[in-house]
Symmetry: C2
Subunit: 233 residues, 2 copies
């Protein structure tokens, strides 16, 4: 799927959680204005300070949403997979973007002008409720994340990130390897620590036989131990 072209029907099917809320007329208007684009690894989709122009949906690939914090230290806020939507919060809050979005690996992204969606939201309750649900869920996650990142110690934060990656992206056929490969630097940025400490802590987990590492591949050996470490902080 990654390398092939997507047909219009594929797209309709992929974006169904939004598509299904629309009327005939609204579907026509969305279909007229949507566009599909491929992004290379690390290619930027939008950046901090920009005015929002589109809502995006990951069709294939993976996307990271991050912020450049104090002293250029960047912090990954969210990681997305198919078929998740992003880039619309700032528009609804009437703000510029406070984050940057980039393709984490080669990805196909669908974009729809946000004003089109904004107009439909004002008429279509199903769509409005769709966004309320998304935002409410994201806000809960963001709040949880705040506490996790601020209160847990390094081992707890890394354990938490590994579990998150497993939940979010799943495992490969072997039933153990996390189905996303991050550099130590990205893992650090996701877990709020320096690259050095991500490397060190990952090595420690490996020598404690909690995980096994092979380059960027991470196998979870003892998930219970990870959960325990994540829980106690």
């Amino acid at each position: 799927m990654q390398n092939n072209e997507l047909s219009l029907n594929d797209i309709r099917r992929l974006i169904s959680s939004l598509w299904d809320t629309l009327t005939e007329e609204q579907r026509y208007s969305v279909e007229e204005s949507l566009s599909i684009r491929k992004y290379k690894k690390n290619e930027i989709i939008y950046t901090e300070e920009e005015m929002p122009t589109c809502i995006y949906c990951v069709l294939t690939g993976k996307v990271k949403i991050y912020r450049d914090g104090v002293g250029g230290r960047s912090q990954i806020m969210r990681m997305l997979k198919p078929v998740e939507y992003f880039g619309y919060r700032a528009y609804f809050a009437n703000e510029r973007y406070v984050t940057t979005a980039a393709a984490f690996e080669p990805s196909t992204i669908c974009s729809i002008p946000i004003t089109i969606i904004g107009d439909i939201v004002k008429q279509n309750n199903h769509l409005a409720v769709f966004f309320i649900r998304q935002l409410a869920a994201d806000l809960g996650q963001s709040d949880e994340r705040t506490v996790n990142l601020t209160q847990k110690h390094i081992r707890g934060r890394l354990a938490e990130s590994l579990l998150f990656l497993k939940e979010n992206y799943g495992l490969e056929e072997d039933g153990a390897t996390i189905d996303i490969y991050l550099s130590r630097e990205d893992l650090a940025s996701l877990s709020n620590m320096t690259t050095s400490n991500a490397i060190r802590t990952l090595s420690n987990f490996a020598s404690e036989r909690i995980i096994a590492i092979d380059g960027r591949k991470i196998k979870i050996i003892n998930e219970d131990a990870l959960r325990k470490i994540s829980k106690i902080g």
Copy 2:
């Protein structure tokens, strides 16, 4: 105002940002089911793990939303003032509460059964858009907060909190004293640090003539300095 009874018209005026979106019929239904209650200082409005039953609106007083984190260390997530709404996120995300809400000082709180509001949202676009805006703004703030709390050093975090309190609650007649009195412990919980460090850092700010402290009263003497400290982290 704090100590008097509120008339129905007072209430309608106070909750106008929500009220104004409603039809006659919906107003009737809300008016039928809303209730007003006074909460004492530190009295709990709802707690973590509970199922959401109501949406709340602060009519008078102040409310804190906090989470009990690792090792009983609590973290203040948000502080509310009249006329802000809270307690609805979990319902829209179809979750239990992940936070606790408590009156920070004697407060009058309006509550409306959340199912009533949920039903109206499904029919009334203005109300749906109202919640989309609220949630989108809160999510942006939560994301900003995550980066601030994780990346700034102690002085930066405390400076940031003091500026937030000033923006949010304003100043007293003297044009300098922040119009909310927090214990050092709450200030710590808002700034993600231990009580010891909140006390120490506050004393340092005072001896640097950036602020003046008199018990729980905090006067901002040099706001520029505070901004600088908050910015550089």
